[in-house]
Each structure stands twice: as C-alpha cells, then as structure tokens.
C-alpha cells in the first residue's frame, strides 16, 4: 500500500528499494545458474540481449508488457480499495471471449475503426461481468474476494473449454479453436504501422494494443487521483468505516471498483485475441493474470510503476525464452525459477530490505547534520 515512511525520501521508496530487491533476486538467480554449471554473467547478458538487443526482442518484450500492464492495472485498481483481485486470469480469459464474440459476429460487415471500439467494449464488458459476481458477494454478502475470484478462474477455464469444444470449434477440425478472423479485424502490428512510415523493423507480436495500454494507464491515473470516484475508492481502501462515516456508499464503491478492475483485466484479451492469435483458442492467457499481481506489487499500484514493472517482466519472459534457447542446460523450469525469485523478492519480500535501508538513511542524515 502507499504507506510512505517519513524516515526515507520518496525516491528511495519507489525506486531504490525495488532496484535493491531486483538485485537480490538476480544474485540468488546467479547462484543457481552457477550451480547448474553455466556462467551467470553470460546468462544475464543473453537475457538482456534477448529482451532488448534487437527490434524483434524489444517487440516481444513490449508485447508481454502489454498484457502485464492491463492485468497489473486491474490488480492495482482493486488494491486501492483494499480488494485483492486474484481473478485477473479468468477475467482476461473471458475478456478474450468478448473480443472473439464481437469479431466473429461482425468482422465480415464492419470496417476496422468500428470493430476496434466494439472489441474494446466487448472485452471490458465480459471482463467486468466476470468480476461482477465476486464483487457482489464481497460487497453484499461478505464472501472474501480472494476466494471467490480464485474460484472464478476455474469456472472461466471450464466455460472456455466447453465453448471451444462444442460451440466455436470448426466442423471436422481436431483443434479446439475458432475460425481465424477476417484480416480487417486484426489489430495492426507495430511492424505494419512502422512500415507505413517507411521504417522497417522485424516481425514481432507487438501491436497497437501497447499504445492502448499506455492510454488506459493514463486514464487509470486520472481516475484514481483526480476524480471524486477515485477519492471515494481510496477512502474505502484506507478505512472502510471512516469512509462510511463520511457518507460514502462503500458497497457501491466496491462494486464499481471491481467492475473496472475486471474490465481492465479483460483488455488483455484484446492484445492476445485481436492483436496476436487472431482466433479464439484455449489457454491464451497463460498465467498473465497472475503475473499482474506481481507487477502491481512491484509497481506500487501506480500506473507509472506498473508500466515499468511490466516492461521488466516482459523482458524476463522474452529474455528467459532466449536464455533457454541458447543455454540448453537452462530449461524452461529454470526460467520459471528465476522469474519466481524476482516475484518473491519484489513482491512477498518487498519490505525485507526496507529496515536496513531506513537505518542507512538515518545514519546518513545524522552525519550530514553533524557536518552542517
């Protein structure tokens, strides 16, 4: 939460501590890489080069980041009202369903500039709808949102399997996938946008959704800190009782916050379904919803922090893939371990380094006072 301690300056809180945590995670990862018999420096170099060394690498990094921005914003939004939305995975999955329903129904009739807003609305509506039941149960029945959102992830997975196997599957096909959308309904790739400007970059799944993610981040920032609703939401987050006393309808705030949170997670479906896969398929969310939790924690629930954390995690995913590509002893499980360590240090152990950073600052400020 946004607990700012008076003992350390704000820049240290939002920048220094996350960087220290990141380095601790990398140090432990380096030890593990050394133990399996590879050179940690070489591995780190491969990861960084893989993530940022080519326009293709950057494309993949930002493509992953797009998903994490959406799911990270979803978690952060709920967190400002002290709600822990673990259902980003299911909401993104169903959001993708919303996109696919719209595009499958209308891609033969409408131009892209009408399809795009419709697809965005579809994703947000479906994602919000998937968050609505847990939100209602939390607000009016007191069922804990952590439990209900987790359970809704499983319901989403089963629903999607049912729909893909029985409804969307092409007749005679063995793969549970919908038909491919008409090309007009594909989100333009960054590559094609650059090509119209005369700049050639290599092929990657990065698409216009990234720009949409940045715009949405701005809107979320305005909503949280510069609107009445955002103020109400944060009040509920700081103290539900005080908010009630101040005349805020806390139940309504919980509902609205969760609906927005679900809508944000649902937008990840736009990137995947409209931007990359161009068809509805199984398991396209692949854990991005859960990664959003770590992204929000690391980004301190602030859109700017979330964008930075998303790019870091995007780099981890892309760089990790490159790493296991070039170092055969680093299996995909090893990459999971490295990703897990970073999540552990920057999420669960985020405050571990804080006490001694504070101490250093206290000693430091005493010394400067003596000197003065």
């Amino acid at each position: 939460m946004s607990k700012t301690s008076s003992t350390i300056p704000k820049w240290a809180d939002v920048l220094l501590i996350p960087i220290i945590n990141l380095f601790m995670a990398l140090a432990v990862s380096a030890m593990i890489i050394y133990l399996v018999g590879e050179n940690p420096i070489e591995a780190l170099k491969l990861m960084i080069e893989g993530a940022f060394g080519s326009s293709e690498g950057v494309g993949y990094t930002l493509y992953y980041a797009t998903n994490f921005i959406f799911t990270g914003l979803a978690v952060a939004m709920a967190f400002h009202a002290m709600l822990f939305n673990i259902g980003g995975e299911g909401q993104a999955y169903i959001g993708g369903l919303g996109v696919a329903v719209i595009l499958l129904a209308l891609d033969q009739y409408l131009p892209f500039w009408i399809l795009l807003p419709l697809a965005l609305i579809g994703a947000m509506l479906f994602g919000a709808a998937w968050a609505a039941v847990p939100a209602y149960l939390q607000a009016y029945r007191g069922s804990h949102i952590v439990i209900t959102t987790i359970m809704f992830n499983f319901i989403a997975a089963n629903l999607m399997v049912y729909l893909l196997v029985n409804v969307f599957i092409l007749p005679g096909s063995m793969t549970p996938e919908s038909r491919v959308f008409e090309e007009i309904a594909w989100m333009p790739s960054i590559q094609s946008i650059f090509a119209t400007l005369g700049i050639e970059i290599s092929d990657s799944p990065l698409n216009l959704s990234f720009i949409i993610a940045l715009i949405v981040s701005l809107i979320v920032w305005i909503y949280i800190w510069h609107t009445r609703w955002g103020y109400e939401m944060r009040s509920v987050g700081f103290s539900e009782k005080a908010a009630t006393y101040a005349g805020i309808n806390t139940k309504r705030v919980i509902m609205i916050t969760m609906l927005i949170s679900g809508a944000l997670a649902g937008l990840a479906g736009v990137n995947e379904i409209m931007g990359v896969q161009h068809k509805l398929m199984l398991d396209f969310v692949a854990g991005y919803g859960f990664t959003g939790i770590a992204v929000a924690l690391m980004g301190r629930n602030h859109p700017v922090g979330i964008i930075m954390a998303s790019i870091l995690f995007g780099a981890l995913f892309q760089g990790g893939a490159e790493l296991s590509f070039d170092m055969p002893t680093i299996s995909k499980e090893m990459v999971f371990v490295i990703q897990g360590l970073i999540i552990l240090f920057s999420g669960a152990l985020a405050y571990m380094s804080r006490p001694w950073v504070e101490k250093i600052f206290i000693i430091f400020s005493k010394n400067t006072k003596k000197g003065a």
Binding site: Y60, Y63, N158, V161, Y162, V165, N166, G172, M174, T175, P176, D203, P205, E272, V276, Q277, M281, L282, D283, F284, A286, G287, A321, S324, F325, P328, S331, K332
Partner: protein
C-alpha cells in the same frame, strides 16, 4: 604413407564439417518433453538419434501459444535444419514459417501442412487398433469387449472404428461397448473416471477393454487388474504397467517418426509431403513382450500376424474414420 595420412585427415575433416553443418531442432509443445506421452515419445526418438550419431540437436519447450511461432522461426533463423514441430497445435506456425524459409526442411507430427518443404507425419491408428481389436475378441470369453476413449474428437473415433473392425473380423458375434471419458481436454487425464467407466463396462459383461485415453487409461488398467479382467494400452508400450492383466498395447511410434525424420534429413533423403505411418512402416503395431507373453496364445499370435501381413499387402482393408467421418465398413 603421407597420402594415406592426408586422406584420413581429409575424411575426418569432412566428417567433422558435415557433422557441424547438420543442425536438427525440435520444438516441444506445451506439456514439455517429459509429459509421459506424446512429447516424451519424440524426446526419446531424438535422444536416440543423438546417441547413435553423436549429433546434438537444439530444442525448445514452449510455455505459451505465442512462443510456437517464435521458437520455430528462431530455429529456422539460426540455421537449424530440419526443424520438427510436435502436435497439431503447431500446424499453423509451421505453415507460416515454412513459407518464409523455403530452404529449410520442416517436419510436423499429427498434422498435415501442405508446403513444398514440409514433411507431415500422420499415423494410421486404425490399422494398429484393428490388430488389438482382434486380440481383444480372441481373448474374450463373454464375447463382449470394451472401448474407452479420451476426449470425443475425430482422432479417437478413428481408434474406435479400427478397433471395432478388428473385433468383428475375429469374432463376428462379438459386441463392442464403448464410452468416451468426456468432451474436454481433462478427459485425457482423469484416471478415476476411467476406472469407473471400466467397472461399468465389466458389470455389463465386458472382459477386455481398450483405453485410448492418455492418462485416463491408468485408471482403466488398474480397474481391470482389480476386477481380474484384461486391458489394452495405447501410444507407448504400457504392458509393464499392470503385468498379467495387460493383454497388449497399441503402440504409436512417434519416437521412430522423429528419429527417421532427423536421419533422412541427415542422409539427404528428406521427402516433403505426407508420411502416413501404418503397420507397413512400423508406425503403429501391437506390443508383445515378457509382461504379456503368457496371455497371448500361439493361435492368437498367428492370427494377428496373418492379419497384419494381409493389411500390409492390402488383402484386408481397414476403414479410416477420418476419410469420410463415419464408421461404415
């Protein structure tokens, strides 16, 4: 002497050069290379190639759908040749990348991709199923045999249709009782439901059951053991799982397919197009080993081997469900 020496050096150098140039690659699908099933079969095949030739291969295990195309493209870009993709889900990615790298040889298992540089490997599961169907009918005392499928998809109906034909061929009076485990991918990994379905079939008089259901089969084999009935395994040789009650297994040699693809590419005899592996190509077969030799009588063995020879020669025609999406024969 000197000439001889140069000759040796030259030969070694040529061998080293060609070994260095041949860079096969395989992209495993989600589930990974140790999935005890399909991917692992391929893994065993390429490992055998590595052991026999000393040529290392590049491999990648994808963790999300977007990586399919990324990994295949990267393999091709880095000069890997041939590049082998596993499973029907990689079909679209192979199709796309094969078009961009016309000089690279690609392979795909369980899917057909029509590109001049792609070898598509599919299996004639109906032929192998026919043989185990015959064995089931001959081993049955009640003239009732069972079939338990995984997910209800055309591929599994192909297994079932071949099995049914084999049963009827050996014993026209026999009855086949069939169940599908479910309509979702979880049907591949539901041993408890598999066990329940098997028990239900045993109650209806079935005494031999064939499970074409992935991990669900484990429950079927256990139920057969508990009830003292016979079961038939699938994909890999599963006879060892329940020695004594495993009648046989219908083996699908994805390992041989992967091995052969690498080998043919190395020899320069890589052929694009569809490779349909049946009994003739040893792509499918029935398994006989020390675990089930007491269950297979000489007569059964003779009859099955005869049928196998007849299928290979074309005397017996096994109908393929997928040729017309129906099981009329």
């Amino acid at each position: 002497m000197k000439v001889w020496k140069t000759g040796v050096i030259l030969a070694v150098a040529v061998a080293a050069l060609s070994a260095g140039e041949f860079k096969p690659a395989v992209v495993f699908d989600m589930g990974g290379k140790f999935d005890k099933s399909f991917n692992e079969g391929v893994y065993n095949g390429v490992e055998r190639f590595k052991k026999e030739t000393g040529i290392n291969y590049k491999s990648f295990e994808i963790t999300n759908p977007t990586q399919r195309e990324q990994a295949i493209k990267k393999m091709a870009k880095r000069g890997a040749n041939p590049v082998l993709g596993i499973g029907f889900a990689q079909g679209p990615a192979i199709d796309k990348i094969a078009g961009k790298f016309p000089n690279t040889q690609f392979g795909i298992i369980d899917m057909v991709v029509n590109k001049p540089n792609v070898q598509s490997i599919v299996f004639k599961e109906h032929e192998g199923s026919f043989l185990v169907g015959m064995l089931a009918a001959m081993a049955s005392k009640t003239h009732k045999v069972g079939f338990i499928g995984g997910m209800d998809i055309p591929l599994i109906r192909k297994f079932k249709c071949g099995y049914e034909q084999g049963v009827k061929y050996a014993d026209p009076k026999a009855e086949v009782i069939q169940n599908m485990t479910g309509s979702t991918p979880s049907a591949w990994n539901d041993p408890s439901k598999g066990g329940e379905l098997a028990k239900g079939q045993f109650d209806r008089g079935v005494d031999v059951v064939f499970a074409a259901a992935g991990g669900t089969g484990i429950g079927v084999y256990q139920a057969a053991k508990d009830a003292g009935k016979l079961a038939i395994g699938v994909d890999s040789n599963q006879n060892y799982l329940q020695p004594g009650t495993m009648l046989t297994s219908m083996v699908k040699r994805v390992d041989i397919a992967a091995y052969n693809l690498f080998k043919s590419a190395k020899n320069g005899s890589f052929k694009p197009g569809i490779q349909a592996l049946g009994l003739k190509e040893n792509g499918v077969d029935w398994a006989l080993d020390k675990y089930n030799k007491d269950l297979i009588t000489e007569d059964m063995k003779k009859a099955v081997e005869q049928a196998k020879a007849d299928i290979i020669s074309g005397k017996i025609k096994v109908h393929d469900y997928m040729s017309d999406n129906s099981c009329k024969y």
